[in-house]
């Protein structure tokens, strides 16, 4: 039964059925209201069914997760067994999201997933792994920890390995851990690398030891989607906070993510916003894992309309109905920029991004513009209104600074103990930790 939408949207009229998917998956897709496959899915699935290794590059929010989940689940249906596939993700939140997607797609076939990320109880993860789940979704540090220290756990039976946000995983910070993991995974496996931005360096890709891979690209160059409107705001450094509040105020009815470079800024801005009556939640690597999941849940459910996050939240997370992404700082790498603004305008929806540029960031901004091949437009502001806001913002920022100081004093001891317990886990501590390590931690109390 051809649906009217289908006929109008694409000329080739590819359906999930015509791609050769099995009934339980089609059923699940229908329940999830996925009617037509996205470009990357159309491109990748046939290759996947041939059993080839895939490097998949597609812009943000284009359905990459399903593109690798579907072929894995289909193969799993043919030969069901424990520890069938392993998906590695750079951040913990993304790992949870991927596992949810697997569970939703595999609901009709009773697929079992285990999420193995840092910050959670080791013992219960050991138990979860011993139950031999079909799919393991993990962050590299914790997975490696289990491979080394959990007796009786191995990935010998693994058939599929997926590196999501592969360029990040193959990067310098996480590369060595990935190498270690790859050493204990059987060579006869299918490997998928997926990301919105892909490294071209052959050396890095060799790490993943692909065999005769096919490269599937649906967007020509690193690009942002066309439904995304990108703006910038050029202001002096000192007026940054006031302008941000002005933006939050004038866009108050929208769902907003504000990205900052450091944990400190994320925490501080969320405090300022809250003092001024905006419903904001912070999300960064120095929160406990439960607090991180809690913040994300609040934001997803619409309880809080503003999420102030570091780059932990920049990749992969599918947060529906984000209207606007504000970059409080210009990201140092243009790839990060693409991932950040990719949190909005997902799956064909529209969205806006506003980047705050100060006198120090001009060069960075030009580099970003060069990479995405677009000139951004100036976001119009009302100077007078900003000036009016300034006094209140300064007051709130003083309060926030004091509160932060108090918190660190109170939390210093506790935090230190927690940190030492997590040393083995450091690799997992996500994107922002290198940039964002708060100097306060190293300060000695006299």
């Amino acid at each position: 039964m051809p649906e009217p939408e289908e006929a109008s949207t694409s000329s080739t009229a590819v359906t999930f059925e015509s791609l050769g998917l099995i009934d339980p998956l089609l059923e699940a897709l229908e329940q999830m209201k996925f009617k037509t496959p996205t470009d990357i899915q159309v491109e990748a699935l046939p290759h996947a069914f041939q059993g080839r290794d895939i490097i998949g590059v597609a812009s943000t929010g284009s359905g990459k997760t399903a593109a690798f989940a579907l072929p894995i689940l289909q193969k799993l249906w043919e030969e069901p067994r424990g520890l069938f596939a392993c998906v590695i993700s750079p951040t913990r939140e993304l790992a949870y999201q991927i596992s949810q997607q697997f569970e939703a797609l595999g609901s009709a076939m009773g697929v079992r997933c285990a999420v193995i990320v840092g910050g959670m109880d080791l013992m219960s993860q050991r138990v979860a792994l011993a139950k031999k789940p079909h799919i393991v979704v993990a962050t590299p540090g914790r997975l490696n920890d289990h491979l080394e220290n959990t007796k009786g756990f191995s990935l010998r039976t693994l058939k599929f390995l997926v590196l999501d946000e592969a360029d990040k995983l193959l990067d310098l910070d996480l590369g060595p851990v990935i190498d270690k993991i790859l050493k204990v995974i059987p060579k006869e496996r299918t490997t998928y690398l997926f990301s919105a931005t892909m490294t071209t360096k052959v050396a890095k890709l060799q790490r993943a030891s692909l065999s005769n891979p096919v490269r599937v690209e649906v967007s020509s160059k690193y690009s942002t989607v066309s439904t995304l409107l990108q703006y910038y705001l050029f202001i002096p450094m000192v007026k940054k906070d006031a302008n941000l509040i002005y933006l939050a105020n004038s866009l108050a009815s929208n769902t907003i993510i504000i990205f900052t470079r450091t944990v400190h800024d994320a925490q501080r801005l969320s405090m300022i916003l809250r003092t001024l009556g905006f419903p904001a939640v912070p999300l960064h690597g120095q929160l406990s894992q439960s607090a991180r999941l809690g913040a994300l849940a609040k934001f997803k459910s619409g309880g809080r309309k503003i999420l102030v996050a570091t780059d932990v939240a920049s990749r992969g997370l599918d947060l529906p109905s984000v209207d606007i992404v504000i970059n409080y700082d210009v990201p140092t790498s243009s790839k990060d920029y693409i991932h950040r603004v990719g949190r909005t305008a997902r799956a064909g929806r529209s969205g806006k991004s506003i980047t705050i540029v100060t006198q120090y960031d001009v060069e960075l901004m030009q580099r970003v513009e060069a990479v995405i091949g677009k000139k951004m437009e100036l976001w119009p502001t009302d100077e007078e209104e900003v000036a009016l806001l300034r006094e209140r913002v300064d007051e709130a920022s003083r309060l926030a600074a004091n509160e932060l100081k108090d918190q660190t004093k109170a939390g210093l001891r506790k935090k230190r103990r927690r940190d030492s317990a997590l040393v083995a886990d450091d690799v997992d501590r996500d994107d922002d930790i290198v940039e964002a390590g708060m100097p306060l931690k190293r300060k000695k109390r006299s």
Partner: protein, 438 residues
């Protein structure tokens, strides 16, 4: 007790079958290099699979004797047996007054319970292999743990985890009645820590763990055997709540005949009404202070040479405080905390009539079993758990010369929640009628 031998045979059978399977699977795994077999889930998180709870060291000695009776010397070697005998038996040179005494000096059940080493804080790991039984084995490499509830609790609290109880498959609790006289809290603590998720991995091979243990369902496949001389509400609650075996559970019903009391003595049972077990303590105290005790005080004969027997230690303190606050009566106490000097002084004063009331706790009588002379009147604040204590106290007045049965009075306060205790004193049939009567 031949039951111990039978139970131990069952335990040995369980352990050796399990061990045999593990060893066989080890072999299979070692042989198969390319495609290791999948059906090797044959262990728990930790090795100990049998827990035997006993109140005193002397009982540990008896259980181990039952075990070694099945592992005779030529084919089995018992390691550390000499050390076990010195630590769990009596120290050399010590004379066991109870077992040396002529029969009849001490009641038989008392001798049986307290002969030998009565230390109540210990734990022992036993490792059983094909050719040897190793006593004092390390907890994580042993098969059987024999411990007192207190010893187990101390070890759990010291290690801050109960991982060694995570994979227990058979629990045997011997002499639960004695444990209610010790500290029931420890027993509940031990049971609440059985089959919990461990906190550390203890070098466990996770691919070998039985699936139901991974799922946290160890409770439902654990066999629990409870032995007790009589039931109390606590032991019945343990049976009802902590025993969850999917195969079901059974308990033996005991029919109690009425107790023999000295001829001529007519105990009067005084029932007080109470609707909820929560109010029971207060209602009992109220009834005692407002009705029973004032009526005793009216009579000059009944308010002297009177023993007040209090079963529960909590009630004991409350009643004692009440006596302290009374003006014009003299009293003395015998509790499980009294020193030998206090005891002899109290007995002396009571016998001589210097103190008109004597408060005795059930635990005191359980642990010490003194004969108390000079009793003419008995008040049971509640019926005792041990039926023999009731008849013993009723016979104490006749230790003195020239006492006639008509001189002795006895009152027993009870409520419907005392059914188990009443049953053992007046007999099952009578007790049903007494608690259900309006």
């Amino acid at each position: 007790m031949p039951v111990r031998g039978a139970v131990m045979l069952h335990v040995l059978n369980h352990i050796s079958k399990k061990r045999h399977r593990v060893l066989k699977n080890n072999e299979r795994l070692a042989k198969a290099v390319s495609s290791p077999p999948e059906d090797v889930q044959d262990q728990g998180f930790t090795r100990p699979s049998v827990l035997i709870l006993v109140p005193f060291r002397s009982f540990a000695l008896r259980w181990v004797a039952a075990l070694t009776s099945h592992t005779p010397p030529p084919s089995y070697q018992i390691e550390n047996h000499a050390r076990f005998q010195t630590e769990y038996g009596l120290p050399p040179g010590a004379v066991d007054k109870l077992s040396e005494a002529a029969p009849g000096v001490y009641p038989k059940d008392h001798v049986e319970m307290f002969k030998g080493n009565v230390d109540d804080s210990f734990r022992l790991g036993i490792k059983v292999t094909r050719k040897s039984v190793k006593l004092f084995s390390e907890f994580y490499s042993c098969d059987v743990i024999i411990a007192s509830p207190l010893g187990l609790r101390m070890s759990i609290e010291k290690e801050k985890n109960a991982d060694f109880l995570s994979s227990i498959e058979v629990v045997i609790a011997d002499q639960l009645d004695a444990m209610t006289m010790q500290n029931w809290d420890h027993v509940q603590f031990a049971f609440s820590n059985l089959n919990q998720m461990p906190k550390n991995s203890h070098d466990t091979d996770f691919s070998r763990i039985k699936p139901w243990i991974l799922d946290g369902n160890g409770d439902f496949l654990r066999q629990t055997v409870l032995f007790t001389a009589y039931e109390t509400p606590e032991t019945r609650a343990l049976f009802n709540k902590s025993l969850k075996n999917v195969a079901g559970k059974i308990r033996t019903e005991h029919f109690w005949p009425p107790l023999q009391v000295p001829e001529g003595v007519e105990p009067s049972f005084i029932r007080f009404d109470c609707l909820s077990p929560k109010d029971e303590l207060d209602k009992r105290f109220d009834h005692f202070t407002k009705h029973l005790f004032p009526s005793v005080m009216k009579s000059a004969v009944q308010s002297a040479n009177t023993v007040v027997f209090v079963p529960s230690s909590f009630d004991f303190i409350r009643v004692q405080n009440h006596f302290r606050s009374l003006v014009g009566t003299t009293h003395t106490v015998l509790s499980e905390y009294s020193s030998n000097q206090d005891i002899s002084r109290a007995r002396q004063a009571f016998f001589a009539g210097n103190k008109s009331f004597l408060l005795v706790s059930e635990r005191f009588h359980f642990f010490r079993r003194y004969k108390i002379r000079g009793i003419r009147n008995l008040i049971f604040y509640g019926p005792p758990d041990h039926p023999q204590f009731f008849s013993e106290f009723l016979s104490f007045p006749f230790l003195d010369d020239g006492v006639d049965a008509s001189d002795v009075t006895c009152r027993v306060l009870y409520s419907k929640y005392d059914f188990f205790r009443m049953e053992r004193i007046v007999g099952t049939n009578e007790a049903v009628a007494m608690v259900s009567a309006i």
